[in-house]
Amino acid sequence: MPASTASPPTAASAPPAGRRPAARRRRAAALLLLLPALIALILFFVLPLLDIIIGSFTDPEPGLGNYLALFSDGYTLRVLGRTLLVALIVTLVGLLLGYPYAYMMTLASPTTRAVMVTVVLVPFWTSMMARNFAWMVLIQDGGVVQGILSLVGLSGVTLLGTATGVALSMTQVLLPFMVLPMFSVMQQIDRRLLLAGQSLGASRLSTFRKVYLPLSLPGVISGGSLVFVLALGFYVTPALLGSPQSALIAQIISVRTRDLLDFGGAGAMGVLILVVTLIALGASRRLAGTGTAVAAHAVAAGGDR
């Protein structure tokens, strides 16, 4: 058995410092694989987006005119206010409905949980048009929802063509986006903490309030901010179930783009939504720790992983 000393190294066999063939080859391969997607995205998404952003400052004339118009024109201002209000209501009602549901998902047996996940995922992936059409049938004058409302003494409430009807339908359409991030956070919470809390003398309610609620807050923030930004730019539901009198910002963008070809004005509104979206998601990311939208879509794309 040889001793633990070795022959001295020959100068030629020592690789020069900084030569890292494996790592470099790997990086080149990675880039090659990524390039097609990156180019496609830049070409068909990023560059046009930049074009619109620039256009919102230059079209029809350079300056902040498009943005000043947003806030000086009373009609647009009212639309903006209505959009914000609807988005807030949809978010709050969604939270109230989604939280207990997501919480129940964590308590359920594996089979029940699979059913509950499916119940969320099916609408998530089910035709947007079909779901909105269904709401149109339900909330029309003389429809089922009106019937139910008149049973509880609220007869003659018009829903189709109003912001209320739009908000009701949007709450249901966007609810999966609320439940999925909350569930993915709640799933991580160690339920023994609740038992520990109770063993330390706290009541069930107070343990929930002081232990579970704070731990589930990242999910609440994620789901809430995601639904809020989705509601801000939502087009299909207001376009189908609303009316010009109850228009939301997305409808105005559509009209300006397709009917008026006013890309500067539409662009300014789009940029406004984009900025609010980025701020909301950025804040949520900072508060909740993860990429909100990505988390929700990851759950949706990968099942209950």
Binding site: M1, P2, A3, S4, T5, A6, S7, P8, P9, T10, S13, A14, P15, A17, R20, P21, A22, A23
Partner: protein, 368 residues
């Protein structure tokens, strides 16, 4: 395969990520063909990085790796022809056991009948004959690791690299597989390079152990040598238990610790800053000072705990001055000793060793 094929020489091997510290720091090991060598150390000590450099998965920052006298730097990892076994088994889940074992032979374009023959032969070698049709997820953890072993040796590599192969198994299974690995080594006569942080595993399997600490090889030698003469305090602490005293070596063969003066042999010319180590099984206990024989070194201790462990009893000791240790004795030798009592611990000076205290050459690299 000719003798000498499986000799691995690591010369001044270094690894540094970016501009960080050296995570492997001038490692020199000469592994003989057919030797079973263990790279032992705590996590982050550089042992796994060293193994990955041998396998070719990690680029070498500087230094050389030679196999059978040839520099293998230009060889990409798939041409190095080392068998490798992973902690996670790394069996391909989309292939059967036989397909897994056949994989390296297929890659080498071995003839079909030859593949079938060698797969079955190798599966029998690891006691899995007839299991070729199963899927990996139908096997137990121990069986999976045996498939991984079979797959890693089926193409007759000259060297087998094992990266903590037993860490994911429970204690009992681990012992069975240790024997299996030992037997495989004896039958195949390959060079085994085994990485682990488990000292018992290292001691019971290896021909030699290289103890890693903070990227360096702290000491290398046979398990018995390292246990008897650990050389450094780190090795003494990592391999087995010790009673360790940080005192001073005085001229004239005297070791001084907390007012005690102990006889030391063969200490001429050693620097004064040495630690003294006594292994627990070398320590004897006396209930009364008068029971201590002449010619031994002794120290007062308080018994803080007594534990019956079947073949022996174990006494936890407190020497005062913040020093604790333990003694392992036959139940007879423990007669009259109770938890909480004061005793005299003594030992034959021939059974003590002096070790180098930690010099902490890279104070910031432990975490790297």
């Amino acid at each position: 395969m000719t003798a000498g094929d499986g000799r691995i020489e690591l010369t001044d091997l270094c690894k540094r990520y970016g501009s960080g510290p050296l995570v492997v720091d001038h490692v020199n090991i000469d592994i003989a063909s057919g030797e079973f060598i263990t790279l032992l150390g705590p996590s982050g000590s550089g042992k796994t990085t060293t193994l990955n450099m041998i396998a070719g998965f990690t680029d070498v920052t500087s230094g050389t790796i030679k196999l059978g006298g040839r520099d293998i730097a230009p060889l990409p990892p798939h041409r190095r022809a080392f068998g490798m076994v992973f902690q996670s088994y790394a069996l391909f889940p989309h292939m059967t056991v036989a397909q897994n074992v056949a994989f390296p032979l297929r890659e080498r374009k071995v003839a079909k009948e030859e593949i079938a023959r060698r797969v079955e032969e190798t599966l029998r070698l690891v006691d899995l004959g007839g299991m070729g049709g199963r899927r990996p997820d139908e096997l137990s953890g121990g069986q999976q690791q045996r498939v991984a072993l079979a797959r890693a040796v089926v193409f007759s590599p000259s060297v087998l690299l094992l990266d903590e192969p037993l860490s994911a198994l429970d204690r009992k299974l681990r012992q069975t597989l240790q024997q299996e690995i030992k037997r495989l080594h004896e039958e195949l006569k390959l060079t085994f390079v085994f990485v682990t942080h488990d000292q018992d595993e290292a001691m019971s399997l290896s021909d030699r152990i290289a103890v890693f600490n903070a990227g360096r090889v702290e000491r290398i030698g046979t398990p018995a040598d390292l246990y008897r003469d650990p050389g450094t305090r780190f090795v003494a602490g990592f391999l087995g238990e010790s009673n360790l005293f940080s005192g001073r070596l005085r001229p004239g063969g005297v070791y001084e610790w907390a007012g005690h003066k102990w006889a030391v042999r063969d200490a001429d010319g050693l620097p004064a800053g040495r630690d003294l180590v006594v292994r627990p099984e070398r320590l004897l206990l006396a209930a009364a000072p008068t029971d201590v024989p002449a010619g031994v070194n002794s120290v007062q201790a308080k018994v803080t705990g007594l534990f019956f462990q079947g073949t022996h009893q174990r006494a936890e000791l407190d020497y005062g001055d913040g020093m604790t240790g333990c003694a392992v004795l036959s139940p007879d030798a423990m007669a009259g000793i109770r938890a909480g009592s004061s005793v005299t611990a003594y030992w034959d000076p021939a059974h003590q060793v002096l070790v180098t205290p930690p010099t902490d050459p890279h104070p910031n690299e432990e975490t790297a």
